[in-house]
Amino acid sequence: MNKLVKFACGLAMATMVGAATAAVAQTSMGDPLRESYYSNLKGRKVVFVPVFMGLDLTEGWSKIMARQADELGYSYEVRNSNFNTAAGAQTITSLISEKPDVLVVQNPDVQSYAKLLQQAEKAGIHVIQLNMKTNYQTTGFVGADVELIGEKQAEAAVAKCGGGDQPGKVLVLAGPPTSPFSAYMLKGYENVLNDNAKIQIVSVQSTGDYESSKAKSITQVVLQQHPDLCAILGVWDNADVGTAAALQEAGKKPGDILVTTSGGGGELACKGLREGLWQYYVSYDVPGQGRDLNALILAAMQDKNEVGSTKTVIYTPLVTYTPETLGDERCWTLDTLR
C-alpha cells in the first residue's frame, strides 16, 4: 500500500514538472496577431474635430485618444472649430481631401455636418461621431443616450415634486435649439412628464450656447413669476453653475428647489454636489467614453470592408450622482485620466 502511495506521488510530481516545462515552452511562443496589429496601426492618422477645446469633456476625450495614439504609434491631431460651425465645416471639408484614416467629430447640431460626414465616408475616411451626433449615421457613434438622461432627470423631478396637491412647477433650461443635447433631452423630459398631471412645466428656455449667465437670468425671471418653483431640469453642469447662482441669490437653500443636470462627471460634478449647486447629476462618464471611443478607433483602422458598410452605435453607460452617493463616486480630473 505504502509503495502504491509513493508511486502515485512520484507520478503526480513527474506530471507537474512536465506541465511546468510545457508552460515555459508555451510562453516563448510568438502571438501571431501582434505584428500585423502593430504594423497596421503605425503611421495611420486620426483627427478630432471638437465643437470647442478647453472644456473638461473635450480635453478629457482628447487626452485619452492622444495617449492611445502615442502608445500605438499612429498620429493624432486636434482641429478646434472654436464654437464656430462654419469654421468646423471648413475644417472637415479640407480634411476630406487630406484623407486621415479616422475622423472623430463632435457635432454642434443635428444637421450642419451631416452632408459633409457622408462625403467623408464616401472618400474613404471612417467617421466616428462623439457624444453629439447628426441625424446621419456613420461608421461609429460613441456617446450618451441623451433621451435617457432626460428621462432620468425628469423622473427625479417627479420624485421630488409629484407628491403635492398642486402640480409641481418645473423649469426646463435647454441648450441651443438644434443641438442634439437639447432636442433629444427635451424628448426624454416629454416621455416622462407629458402624461403626468402632477407636474407642470412652466417654462422651456434655451440658454443659448450653454451660457451660465443666461441660465442665471432665465432662472431669476422664472423664479420671480413662480416663487413656488419646485425643480429645474438643467442641460449641462457648466451652464447650471449660473442656475445655482440665481437660486442662491434668491435666498434658496440647496435642495429647496431641485436642480438636476448632466455632464461628463468631472471635478465640477462633485464640487457642485458638495456645495449644493445641484442635487441630481447624470454623468456620461468621460473616461468610460474615452475607452469606448478608442476601441471604435481601433476597430475602424482594422476594418477591411468598404467604409461605412459596418455601423456601430455605443450608448455609453450613465452614472447617476446624488449627494447621498457622492462618497462612492469619484469624479475625474485631467490628472487622474489614464
Binding site: N82, I218, V221, N238, Q248, K271
Partner: protein
C-alpha cells in the same frame, strides 16, 4: 488751473455735448423714439403680463441687463469718439478669468486684481496705439486684437475655458452677487459706472475732447487738441470698463466662461448703443442713450421670457426692434451732406 485757451476750448465744446440730451437741431431724435418705444412696450407688458409690473420683476429685469449696460457704457465712449471696440468681450473675459485663476492659485486678491487691470490697460493701449498712431481702422484693429487676446486665453493660460469663482475671492463677490436695500449690487454697479462716465463725458475736459474727436477729428486737431492721446484714452477706458463688467459677471454667475468671446455678445453691446441713439458716425449721444437702449432690450427680453417664447423667436424680435429703431431714425433724421461723409463704419 485752466489756461484761458483751454478753458475756451472746453467752453466751445459744450454745444456739442448739448446733443447728449437729444435736444440738437431736430426735436425728435432716436433717443426720444426709443424712449417712446420703451414706454409703450413697458405699459403693454404691465397690462397684459401678470407679474411683470412688480418691484421684484423690475429689479430682476435690471439685473439681467446690468452687465450688458456696463459694456454699453464703455462702448459708448469709443463710438462717440468715432471708433468701435470689438475686443470688449475679450477684455471682459480674459483679464477677469486671469484674476480668478491667480486668486485660486493663492497669489492674493490685490495682486490678482492688479494683474487683471494691468492686462485690461495693456489691451486698451494696444488698441489705442494701433488706431491712433498706426491709423488702422478701429473695426479691424479691435477685431484682430480681440481674437488675439481670446487666443492667448485659449492656448493655455487657463486649464479650462470656464474658470470658476474661487473661494479666495469671496471678499469681493458682492460686486456681482447679493443686494443692498433690495437693489442688486450688479444694478448698483451699472448705476455707478453710468454716473462716472456721465460725469466724465459732460463735466471733464477729456470727455469734451472725446465728443470733439468724434464730431470732427480734423477740426479738433486744428484747435490744438492732441487727438491721438485722446483716442488711446478711449480704448483704455473701454477695456477697463469691460474688465469691470467681467468681474461683475464672474461674481454673478460664479464663473467666467471665456468662450463668450465666440458668442454673439458683442452684437448685443452694439445693439444697445446704436438702439439708444448713439450714432456710429461719432460725436453724438451719451449715457442716457445707453441706459434707455439697455432698458428697452431688457424689457423686451424679460417679457418674452415670462411669455416663454422660444430662443429663435427672441432673437428674431431683437433683430426686428433694432431694424425698426434704425429705420425710424433714418426716416426722421435723413442723412445730410455732413453725416454721409463721416466715419469708417
Amino acid at each position: 488751473m485752466q489756461s484761458p485757451v483751454e478753458g475756451q476750448t472746453a467752453g466751445r465744446a459744450v454745444p456739442v455735448a448739448g446733443l447728449f440730451g437729444g435736444g440738437g437741431r431736430i426735436g425728435f431724435d432716436q433717443l426720444k423714439i426709443v424712449t417712446l418705444l420703451f414706454l409703450v412696450i413697458f405699459v403693454v407688458y404691465s397690462l397684459v403680463l401678470p407679474g411683470f409690473f412688480s418691484i421684484g420683476n423690475l429689479l430682476t429685469l435690471m439685473r439681467t441687463v446690468a452687465v450688458l449696460g456696463i459694456l454699453g457704457l464703455g462702448m459708448a465712449i469709443v463710438v462717440i469718439g468715432r471708433g468701435i471696440d470689438l475686443s470688449m468681450i475679450a477684455s471682459l473675459a480674459v483679464p477677469s478669468a486671469l484674476v480668478l485663476m491667480l486668486a485660486a492659485k493663492g497669489y492674493g486678491v490685490v495682486p490678482a486684481l492688479a494683474a487683471g487691470l494691468l492686462m485690461a490697460v495693456a489691451i486698451g493701449v494696444l488698441n489705442g496705439v494701433l488706431v491712433a498712431y498706426a491709423e488702422i481702422p478701429s473695426l479691424f484693429t479691435t477685431l484682430a486684437v480681440g481674437i488675439g487676446v481670446a487666443g492667448i486665453g485659449q492656448i493655455g493660460l487657463f486649464d479650462y475655458e470656464i474658470v470658476s469663482w474661487p473661494p479666495e475671492l469671496d471678499v469681493i463677490v458682492w460686486i456681482g452677487r447679493g443686494s443692498v436695500f433690495g437693489i442688486p449690487y450688479s444694478v448698483l454697479a451699472f448705476g455707478a459706472v453710468a454716473i462716472l462716465i456721465g460725469v466724465f463725458l459732460r463735466r471733464t475736459r477729456p470727455g469734451m475732447f472725446v465728443y470733439a474727436s468724434g464730431d470732427n477729428p480734423g477740426a479738433t486737431r486744428l484747435t490744438g487738441i492732441s487727438l491721438r492721446p485722446v483716442l488711446v484714452m478711449q480704448y483704455i477706458i473701454s477695456s477697463c470698463v469691460a474688465f469691470f463688467a467681467g468681474m461683475v459677471l464672474a461674481a454673478s454667475s460664479a464663473s467666467m466662461d471665456t468662450r463668450i468671446f465666440n458668442l454673439t455678445w458683442i452684437y448685443d453691446v452694439i445693439l444697445v448703443v446704436v438702439l439708444g441713439g448713439i450714432g456710429l458716425s461719432g460725436g453724438r449721444g451719451g449715457v442716457a442713450n445707453v441706459i434707455i437702449g439697455t432698458l428697452l432690450i431688457g424689457t423686451i427680453m424679460n417679457g418674452l421670457t415670462i411669455m416663454n417664447v422660444s430662443f429663435e423667436m427672441q432673437n428674431l424680435v431683437r433683430g426686428l426692434v433694432l431694424l425698426v429703431a434704425v429705420l425710424a431714425d433714418s426716416l426722421i433724421n435723413p442723412r445730410n451732406e455732413e453725416t454721409s461723409q463721416q466715419g469708417d463704419i
